[in-house]
């Protein structure tokens, strides 16, 4: 990195204010050709806002952007692409029903007049994919491809537009560790061919593995830079959250009792006939946390929905405390003592337009004391709200505030409060801390352990391997709808679990 190289991108004093939040505060940085520049920060640190500004999706309130040393106005993504800046979003901007080629050429089509030149386009895609070592089938429908391949399509989409800068927003979130390694190889290859890459992540390990340079963001500000070769994970973590973080949750060893939940031979196919659950069997015992690790979309969602009665099962059986609950209505399963934190808190866990008060009785409204005779008992519902808001530290101006106006962490606390205060025997938590602040994460982790210590069986599903490793007493790994291994926590090293997540089978004794 010599000083006289003109930066591919230079950002000066970018500031962006949203109602109530200063998302970006005087951010400046440079990006040099041929380097991988990592941006590290926890959720809500302002990384995505910054990238959306660069990509023309938001207008900054202040500040300027220079591309190749010249002042640039980026009003929309088309401008960004024209200036040589491409982006791979966290949620892929791919149209599932179109082919790989169609997705790649969309917007800059090869054409004869108004007619698409499909042959030439697919040829061009094939060439590009060979040039950068990104293997994709040009004529396959994107929705049928695994996420790892979809990501390559996203990268090719940018390369097809001749970008020389590429922003990768949390690209490893949905990849297995092995797929992630493959991505890092591609990133390196691109950098070697002179492209400049911005790599956004909150995973400390990854930045140290692939980045040339690290910038850490916290609460919308650049709080420091680091050299990946010298900085330790602890240092980076402290920079990221602003204090020393306890990466481990305080807990004693588990004291497992009888099996509360017995799942046997679940099999399920989706609408397209693809296997979603493949002979899944597992037990969860009282007083233990069984963590289910796996890359998203490997059947975890369906498994949990089958247990909670939300997904109809053609084959297999589920027993709760010795009673068969297969394909029972969700409410009857809940009433037998199952608490459930769904993975999509805004879409399924809460009614965002309802008050906190109403959300706190969303699954118990029909029972005494909330309903008396035919009508609601407002006093009891109010009392319940008051009590739970206090106990679970929900930060809100009042109980009648709508759930939609709260922060993610406080929303999640409403669900936790509602679910944990029933008479429970089994607790199912799906991605319980996704996208929420560190304080709320700690609070929820402690609540989960408290429930375990009170003798509940806990089934924890998380895409965050760290979360599984710090909370679980046993770790089950799912891959392509199958449980590919169940390890006691002592044997569950990151490497072993990572291999299992990639579907690489172990020798017997795993189960």
């Amino acid at each position: 990195m010599t000083a006289n190289v003109v930066p591919a991108l230079e950002v000066r004093n970018i500031t962006k204010q949203f109602p109530g939040v200063l998302a970006n505060d005087q951010i400046s940085f440079t990006l040099l050709p041929g380097e991988i520049h990592a941006f590290l920060g926890e959720n809500g640190a302002g990384k995505s806002t910054l990238m959306n500004i660069l990509y023309g999706l938001y207008d900054p309130d202040q500040g300027e952007i220079l591309i190749n040393g010249e002042l640039a106005k980026i009003k929309n993504p088309a401008d960004a692409i024209r200036l040589g800046l491409g982006m791979v979003h966290q949620e892929y901007a791919l149209v599932d029903t179109l082919t790989v080629t169609e997705n790649i050429i969309l917007g800059t089509e090869l054409r004869n007049g108004p007619i698409l030149n499909a042959k030439e386009a697919s040829q061009r895609v094939r060439e590009l994919s060979e040039q950068y070592g990104l293997a994709v089938p040009p004529d396959a429908i994107v929705g049928d491809l695994p996420v790892g391949v979809q990501q390559r399509v996203e990268i090719l989409k940018a390369l097809y537009r001749n970008v020389n800068m590429l922003i990768l927003d949390e690209p490893t979130a949905v990849l297995t560790p092995q797929e992630a390694d493959d991505l890092f190889r591609v990133m390196r290859e691109l950098a070697d061919q002179g492209k400049a890459l911005i790599f956004i992540t909150h995973k400390l390990r990854e930045v140290r593995e692939v980045a040339d340079r690290i910038t850490v963001l916290r609460r919308g500000k650049v709080v420091g830079g680091a050299d990946p070769k010298t900085a330790s994970e602890g240092q980076l973590a402290a920079l990221m959250v602003g204090r020393d973080v306890v990466l481990k949750v305080d807990k004693t060893a588990a004291n497992p009792g009888d099996a509360v939940l017995k799942v046997r031979n679940l099999k399920l196919r989706d609408d397209r006939g693809l296997t979603v659950l493949d002979d899944v069997s597992l037990d969860v015992h009282a007083g233990e946390v069984l963590g289910i690790a796996g890359v998203q979309g490997n059947g975890q969602t369906e498994l949990v929905e089958a247990i909670t009665g939300l997904q109809h099962l053609p084959t297999g059986s589920i027993e709760l405390l010795g009673k068969d609950i297969t394909n029972r209505p969700p409410r009857s399963i809940t009433e037998q003592g199952v608490a459930y934190i769904p993975e999509d808190r805004k879409g399924t866990g809460l009614v965002l337009g309802y008050s906190i008060r109403d959300n706190l009785v969303l699954s118990t409204y029909y029972k005494a004391p909330f309903t008396k005779g035919l009508t609601f008992n407002d006093a009891a519902i109010d009392e319940n709200a008051k009590e739970l808001i206090e106990t679970f530290d929900v930060r809100t101006p009042s109980a009648t505030t709508t759930a939609g106006s709260l922060s993610g962490g406080n929303q999640q606390k409403i669900i936790v409060a509602r679910e944990f205060t029933r008479e429970n025997r089994l607790l199912i938590a799906s991605q319980p801390t996704r996208g929420i602040d560190v304080g709320s994460i700690e609070f929820i982790h402690n609540q989960i352990i408290k429930q375990r210590d009170a003798g509940l069986a806990v089934l924890l599903v998380s895409a965050e391997l760290d979360e599984i490793l710090s909370l679980a007493d046993r770790v089950a790994v799912m891959y392509h709808g199958k449980i590919v291994g169940i390890l006691p926590i002592a044997e569950a090293t990151r490497e072993r679990v990572g291999l299992l997540m990639a579907g690489i089978q172990e020798q017997p004794n795993g189960k």
């Binding site: 993504p77 088309a78 982006m87 179109l98 997705n103 917007g107 007619i115 499909a118 006939g273």
Partner: protein, 445 residues
């Protein structure tokens, strides 16, 4: 045994087949007492004629190319038996996908055929004419479905097609009537009386297209600019259409004297129209019907082979993805909704200039909604939607056809047939059909 869609459809098919066979048995049985010539219900025959259209021009009594005499009861029994067996297989096998729509289509098509045979027991029916009616009556439904496809493929639900058609029918007719008077005065010149006066009719069609486009522009404005729920906005269009057309008709059309008396003419395509069976079905129609067939295949080409089509499919499926590659989603949606409205305008012109000549209140009689059902049936593909339209229009064609015969079923039941069929088809296939993912959703950056 779980109750699934396939099993439900199978059960329904068996039920229909059994009801049909009993009804026919009963009805034909009653006919025996009236006429002594026939000894048993098995003696009834239904004759299907394929007339010789070429020779009939010279000699109206020319013998038909073919006259197939079918034993009524045996044929209907065989059909119903086959439907019961197929329905039973559907129930037993419970296939996950792929067989529901074909089975349902066969139940409907064969059921209609049986009703036709039943109605013409001891009589004969002109098959060419019946099938030609199916195509003719399917025209507005198919065009309406194309309008729906253009809108929904780009992510805007268009429940207002009915209203767009109705308004277009009204103002299309008004445009033709007014322009005829402007051109010819109070009466057509002698030379024009016998021939077709094209000018006002073309102006009428253009008027209908513009009207449809304007109503669609309102829909687009409400649902894109103001982000009004698209179902509500479509309903606004439908109610507005009733008001505007009723108002225009009573305040203006009823009092207006136009010299124009006939609408779009029959246009047989030369020798092609003389091919037995195929000629009347495909090559002996009025202009908008030909236009419909062109539009079906044209839209299919445009949707899947052109840049416009690719972008349209993209913005209806994942508008954000399209936006990030520089496609202006809302501008494109405006444009496509208006194009859709213009297509619906052509369907409107069919009602007042081709199907009949003149405008009546509510003359679209729910066909716009049936179009939407045809669009769903065809899984948002033009050719599939065309097939759906023919399925629905065959109900209407049958209903009109059997009026000519002394038939046991009350006319009201025959008249509700198109609506019942739409209801059943919609309930039977919709779960299998996946609408464009962004359809109905406002796009906000």
């Amino acid at each position: 045994m779980k109750f699934t869609r396939a099993r439900g459809v199978g059960l329904l098919g068996i039920f229909i087949a059994i009801v049909l066979i009993f009804a026919v048995n009963n009805s034909l049985g009653n006919k025996i007492t009236e006429k002594s010539k026939i000894q048993s219900i098995w003696d009834f025959t239904s004759t299907i004629r394929i007339p010789d259209s070429a020779n009939m021009k010279v000699d109206p009594k020319a013998p038909p190319v073919a006259a197939i005499e079918l034993p009524t009861m045996i044929t209907i029994s065989l059909i119903c038996g086959a439907l019961v067996i197929a329905g039973g297989t559907l129930i037993a096998k419970n296939p996950e996908r792929g067989w529901v729509a074909p089975y349902m289509s066969s139940v409907i098509a064969l059921g209609f055929f049986s009703i036709l045979l039943w109605a013409v027991a001891n009589n004969s029916v002109d098959l060419s004419d019946t099938l030609s009616r199916v195509v003719r009556l399917g025209t507005p439904i198919a065009i309406g479905a194309l309008a729906g496809i253009v809108c929904e493929r780009s992510g805007v639900v268009n429940i207002g097609i009915e209203g767009m058609m109705l308004t277009a029918a009204c103002f299309g007719y008004a445009a033709a009537a007014i322009s005829a008077r402007a051109i010819y005065g109070d009466a057509l010149p002698e030379s024009a009386v016998r021939g077709v006066v094209w000018m006002p009719l073309i102006i009428g069609i253009l008027g209908a297209i513009v009207t449809g486009g304007m109503m669609a522009a309102l829909h687009a404005w409400l649902s894109i600019r103001f982000k009004v729920d698209q179902v509500i906005s479509g309903t606004v269009i439908n109610i507005m259409a009733v008001g505007i057309t009723g108002f225009t008709r009573t305040n203006f059309l009823l009092k207006f004297e136009s010299p124009l008396r006939t609408g779009l003419p029959q246009m047989p395509l030369g020798p092609l129209a003389d091919i037995p069976l195929l000629g009347p079905i495909l090559f002996d129609h009025k202009p908008i019907t030909y236009l419909m067939i062109l539009m079906v295949f044209g839209l299919n080409f445009f949707l899947f082979r052109t840049v416009w089509g690719l972008r349209t499919r993209a913005i209806g499926e994942h508008p954000k993805a399209a936006d990030t590659v520089g496609i202006n989603v809302n501008r494109m949606r405006y444009r496509n909704v208006i194009i859709g409205g213009m297509i619906a305008g052509v369907a409107g012109a069919w009602f007042s200039l081709e199907g009949s000549f003149g405008f009546d209140d509510g003359m679209t009689s729910g066909q716009g909604f049936i179009s939407l059902a045809a669009m769903i049936f065809g899984k948002w593909n033009p050719i599939g939607a065309f097939g759906g339209s023919l399925l629905f229009s065959s109900a209407d064609a049958l209903q009109l056809k059997v009026q000519a015969y002394s038939f046991d079923l009350p006319s009201q039941f025959m008249q509700m047939l198109p609506y019942v069929v739409t209801l059943i088809v919609l309930a039977g296939v919709i779960g299998r059909a996946r609408p464009p993912a962004a359809s109905g959703k406002v796009y906000e950056k």
